[in-house]
C-alpha cells in the first residue's frame, strides 16, 4: 500500500533551490566572453591606429626604401613609436622585412600578485585556497595566456602562432610614397593582455559568486535547521498532547512567534484546547446525564411509593411491582454510568498504603466463590506475602471487575483461573476464562470507555462497557497497565494487569 517515497527535509529542499544560483557563474562566464570580444575589438582598433600612425610617419620618404634590406633609419623611427608587447614591422613591396621593433613577448614575466598575502591569517588562508583550489579551476575554464610561444605567426589578421599557444592580432597599413605603395607597416600583438584581463575579471567574479554562494548556503542551512527544529518541536508537542487512547493529555503552550509556524502552533494549541474541552464535556456527560435523570426517576419512584401506601387491588400491586422493577433497573444503569467518573475523582483522593496483595487477592477469591456459587474459581498465588503500595479497596474493585468480566464470558462448567505472579519489578494478576475469543483488533480498545464486545445482551444486567475501563483506570493509577489476549492453551481470554512493585506514588 505504501510506496517508497523520496523524502527531503526542508534543509535539503532549500539547498536544492540554492543550486539555481549555480547558473550565476555561467552567466558570469558569458559576460566575460562578451567583455573579451569587446576588448579584442578595441585592441584591433588600437593596432590599426598604430599601424596608420607609423605608416603616416613613413609616408613620402622615398629615401628610406632605397637600400633594400634592413634600414637602420626606419628602425630608429619605429622604435620610437613602438611599445611593449607590440611588434612593428615594416615590409617592402617584396614582402621583405625592412625593419622591426618590439617583441610579442613581455619583457618581464608577470609578477605574482603577492600584495594582499601575508597581511592576515584570513587573507593568507584565502590566498592559499585561491592558489590550491581556485586557480586550477579557473585555468580549466579559461586557460591563462601563455608567454611561451614561438614568435612565428600564421597569416592573416587574427591567427594563432605556429605552435598554437597564443593568438596574434595584426594590423597593416600601406606606406605611400607619392601615389605608390612602397611598403607596409605591420603591427602585431598577442591577445595575451586581453586574455589576462578577461581571466582576472572572471576570477574575481567567480570568487565573489563562490563566496556569496558559500555564505548563502551556510545561512540558508542554518535558517532551514532553525525552521525544521521549530516544526519538529511543534510536531513532538502535538504528538505528546494526545495519548495512545486519543485523549488530550495536555494543551500546547502555543509559541509567541509572529510567523506562520507560530501561527500554526497557536492554532494547534487552540484546536487542542477545544478538543480537550470537548473530551471533558463528553466525560462529564455521563455524570451530568445521570444527574439529570435522577430527578425524574425520583419523581417516578416517589409516585410509586406514594401509590403503594394506598389500598390497591392485587392486580394493581402486580403492575406496580413491574414498574418498580423497571425503575430499579434504570437506577442501576445510572449508577453504573457514573461509576467511572466517580472513580476518577476517588482516585485523586485515594491514600496509598502498604498491604499484602496476595492476602487481598485470596480474600477476594473467597468472596467471589461465595458470590458466584455455581462458578469454579481457581487461584494460583505465590507463597508468602506480596507487599504492595496502593489503595487496597481500589485493587479489590479492579479485581471485582476482572472477575465479573470473566464470569460473564466463561463457558458454563469451566473454571476461571486467577493467577498472581511476581515478576522482576512488578506483579501480574491474570484472570483467564474459557469462552469466546476476542475479536481481532479489540485487544487495546477493550479497555476504553463504553466499549463492549458482547454479542447478545442479557436483559437482566445492563452493560455499558465500563468494567474493563475501570480496570484500566485503577491499573494506570497504580502505574501499571491492563492487557487482554486470547489464551494460548485453551479457547478463551486472559485479561491481566501488570503493576510495578516499586514506583513513585502519584
Amino acid at each position: 500500500m505504501s510506496r517508497p517515497r523520496v523524502t527531503l527535509g526542508i534543509r535539503a529542499q532549500l539547498l536544492l533551490v540554492l543550486t539555481v544560483f549555480l547558473a550565476i557563474p555561467w552567466l558570469g562566464y558569458e559576460y566575460v566572453r562578451e567583455l573579451e570580444r569587446f576588448l579584442r575589438d578595441a585592441q584591433e582598433r588600437t593596432l590599426a591606429g598604430t599601424a596608420q600612425a607609423v605608416a603616416t610617419a613613413l609616408h613620402d620618404r622615398p629615401r628610406l626604401f632605397q637600400e633594400g634590406a634592413l634600414s637602420p633609419e626606419i628602425e630608429q623611427i619605429i622604435r620610437g613609436l613602438s611599445r611593449t608587447t607590440a611588434r612593428i614591422s615594416v615590409v617592402d613591396r617584396e614582402q621583405n622585412v625592412v625593419a622591426r621593433a618590439g617583441s610579442l613577448k613581455r619583457a618581464d614575466p608577470q609578477p605574482v600578485d603577492a600584495g594582499i598575502a601575508g597581511d592576515s591569517r584570513v587573507a593568507r588562508g584565502w590566498a592559499w585556497l585561491e592558489r590550491v583550489a581556485l586557480q586550477p579551476l579557473y585555468a580549466r575554464v579559461l586557460p591563462p595566456p601563455s608567454e611561451d610561444f614561438s614568435e612565428e605567426p600564421n597569416m592573416p589578421a587574427r591567427r594563432p602562432t605556429a605552435d598554437g599557444k597564443a593568438i596574434i592580432v595584426a594590423a597593416a597599413n600601406p606606406i605611400w610614397v607619392g601615389d605608390e605603395v612602397k611598403g607596409a607597416v605591420v603591427v602585431e600583438q598577442t591577445t595575451n593582455a586581453v586574455l589576462a584581463e578577461r581571466n582576472r575579471a572572471f576570477a574575481r567574479l567567480f570568487t565573489i559568486v563562490l563566496a556569496a554562494l558559500l555564505i548563502g548556503s551556510v545561512a540558508l542551512t542554518l535558517y532551514a535547521s532553525w525552521l525544521s527544529t521549530r516544526i519538529r518541536r511543534l510536531r513532538d508537542e502535538a504528538e505528546a498532547a494526545i495519548d495512545a487512547h486519543g485523549r488530550v493529555r495536555g494543551v500546547l503552550a502555543g509559541s509567541q512567534a509572529g510567523d506562520e509556524i507560530g501561527d500554526l502552533s497557536r492554532s494547534f494549541s487552540s484546536a487542542l484546547a477545544r478538543l480537550a474541552q470537548y473530551a471533558s464535556h463528553q466525560e462529564a456527560m455521563a455524570s451530568r446525564l445521570s444527574h439529570e435523570l435522577r430527578t425524574p426517576i425520583a419523581v417516578v419512584r416517589s409516585s410509586l411509593d406514594n401509590l403503594a401506601l394506598q389500598n390497591l387491588t392485587e392486580e394493581a400491586r402486580v403492575v406496580m411491582g413491574r414498574a418498580q422493577e423497571g425503575l430499579d433497573r434504570l437506577a442501576h444503569i445510572i449508577t453504573r454510568m457514573t461509576e467511572a467518573t466517580r472513580l476518577e475523582s476517588s482516585l485523586a483522593e485515594a491514600e496509598p498504603e502498604r498491604f499484602d496483595l496476595a492476602q487481598v487477592v485470596a480474600g477476594c477469591v473467597e468472596g467471589y466463590r461465595a458470590a458466584y456459587p455455581q462458578q469454579k474459581i481457581e487461584l494460583e498465588s505465590p507463597s508468602g506475602s506480596v507487599p504492595f503500595d496502593g489503595a487496597p479497596e481500589l485493587i479489590a474493585q479492579m479485581f471485582d471487575k476482572l472477575i465479573a468480566n470473566a464470569v460473564e464470558f466463561a463457558r458454563p462448567g469451566t473454571a476461571i483461573e486467577v493467577k498472581l505472579e511476581r515478576e522482576v519489578a512488578s506483579v501480574r494478576l491474570a484472570v483467564s476464562n474459557e469462552g469466546p475469543r476476542l475479536p481481532a483488533g479489540m485487544e487495546a480498545r477493550l479497555f476504553d470507555s463504553m466499549v463492549s464486545v458482547r454479542e447478545e445482551r442479557s436483559a437482566a444486567t445492563p452493560h455499558l462497557g465500563l468494567g474493563l475501563y475501570i480496570v484500566r483506570l485503577i491499573a494506570e493509577h497504580h502505574g501499571g497497565r491492563a492487557l487482554a489476549a486470547n489464551r494460548a492453551d485453551a479457547e478463551g481470554v486472559t485479561v491481566s494487569v501488570v503493576l510495578p512493585l516499586v514506583r513513585a506514588l502519584r
Binding site: 444527574h291 435522577r294 430527578t295 426517576i297 425520583a298 419523581v299 419512584r301 416517589s302 409516585s303 411509593d305 406514594n306 401506601l309 437506577a331 449508577t335 453504573r336 457514573t338 461509576e339 466517580r342 472513580l343 475523582s345 476517588s346 483522593e349 487481598v360 480474600g363 477476594c364 477469591v365 473467597e366 468472596g367 467471589y368 461465595a370 458470590a371 487496597p392 479497596e393 485493587i395 479489590a396 474493585q397 479485581f399 471485582d400
Partner: protein, 232 residues
C-alpha cells in the same frame, strides 16, 4: 401536637409526593420551592425537621446556603439533605455544614420516613435526661438504640443516621462479614459500592479521631466489612 416538617425542593412532583406521604404519616408539612421563601418562613417559625434539596432551580448550591442559615437559627433542628447528587464531595460538604443525614433521591419513601422518624426520636431523647435501657454494648462501643447515639470509650461519636445504622449492623454480630448489600439494607440507603466504601472510611475516621488505635472495622476484600471484637 403534630410535628412540622419543612420540605425545600424545586421539583413540584417530588415535593407533592413527599408532602402527601408525610401528611399521611401525620406530620404537618410546609413545602417551599426556593431559598428566600423557605428562609423567611424559618425566621418566623422553626420547623421540627427540614428536608432540603441542594440544587434549588437556578440556585445550584442553594441548599447548602440554606442549611447554613438554618443551623445559625437553630443548632438542634434535624436537617436531611436530599439530593440527586451523590458524589463524595457533596456528601462531605453537606455533612460538614451540620446536616444530620444525606440521602440521594434514589431513597424510597418508606426508607425516608423511617429516617425521619428515627431523627425525631433522636432529637426527642437527646433532650430527655433519662438514660435509655436499650443499648448495645460491644467492648468499648456503646450504641444507644433509642437515642441513636454511639459512644466509644465513653466518648460520644458524632455519627449521622446512616453511619449509625451501619455501625449497628456491623457491631450487632461481631466477627460476621456484612456485605455491601446488607449494609445498604440496614442503613436504609440505596447507593453504589464506592459510596459504601466512603461511608465506612468516614466512620473509621470519626472513631480514629477519638482513639488513634481504633481497629474494629475490618475490610474483608471481595466480601464486605466485619466488626472485630477487641481482644482485651
Amino acid at each position: 401536637m403534630s410535628r412540622r416538617i419543612a420540605i425545600v425542593e424545586d421539583e413540584p412532583a417530588i415535593r407533592a409526593n413527599y408532602s402527601d406521604v408525610l401528611r399521611k404519616q401525620g406530620y404537618e408539612v410546609a413545602a417551599y420551592d426556593n431559598r428566600p421563601d423557605a428562609l423567611a418562613a424559618f425566621r418566623t417559625r422553626l420547623p421540627d425537621l427540614a428536608l432540603i434539596d441542594i440544587g434549588l432551580g437556578e440556585d445550584i448550591d442553594g441548599g447548602f446556603a440554606l442549611c447554613r442559615e438554618l443551623r445559625a437559627l437553630s443548632p438542634t433542628v434535624p436537617i436531611i439533605f436530599l439530593s440527586a447528587r451523590d458524589s463524595d464531595f457533596d456528601i462531605v460538604a453537606g455533612l460538614r455544614l451540620g446536616a444530620d443525614d444525606y440521602v440521594t433521591k434514589d431513597v424510597s419513601l418508606p426508607h425516608l420516613t423511617a429516617r425521619i422518624a428515627a431523627l425525631f426520636r433522636r432529637s426527642d431523647l437527646a433532650t430527655a435526661p433519662k438514660a435509655s435501657e436499650e443499648t448495645l454494648q460491644r467492648g468499648a462501643l456503646a450504641l444507644d438504640l433509642k437515642r441513636l447515639s454511639a459512644h466509644w470509650k465513653d466518648k460520644q461519636v458524632e455519627l449521622t443516621l446512616t453511619e449509625f445504622w451501619m455501625v449497628h449492623a456491623l457491631a450487632r454480630f461481631p466477627g460476621h462479614v456484612k456485605d455491601r448489600d446488607s449494609l445498604m439494607r440496614d442503613a436504609k440507603i440505596v447507593v453504589d459500592d464506592s459510596t459504601i466504601t466512603s461511608h465506612i472510611k468516614r466512620i473509621r475516621k470519626k472513631f480514629l479521631a477519638l482513639d488513634p488505635d481504633f481497629d474494629c472495622i475490618a475490610t474483608v476484600y471481595g466480601m464486605g466489612y466485619r466488626w472485630n471484637a477487641e481482644e482485651r
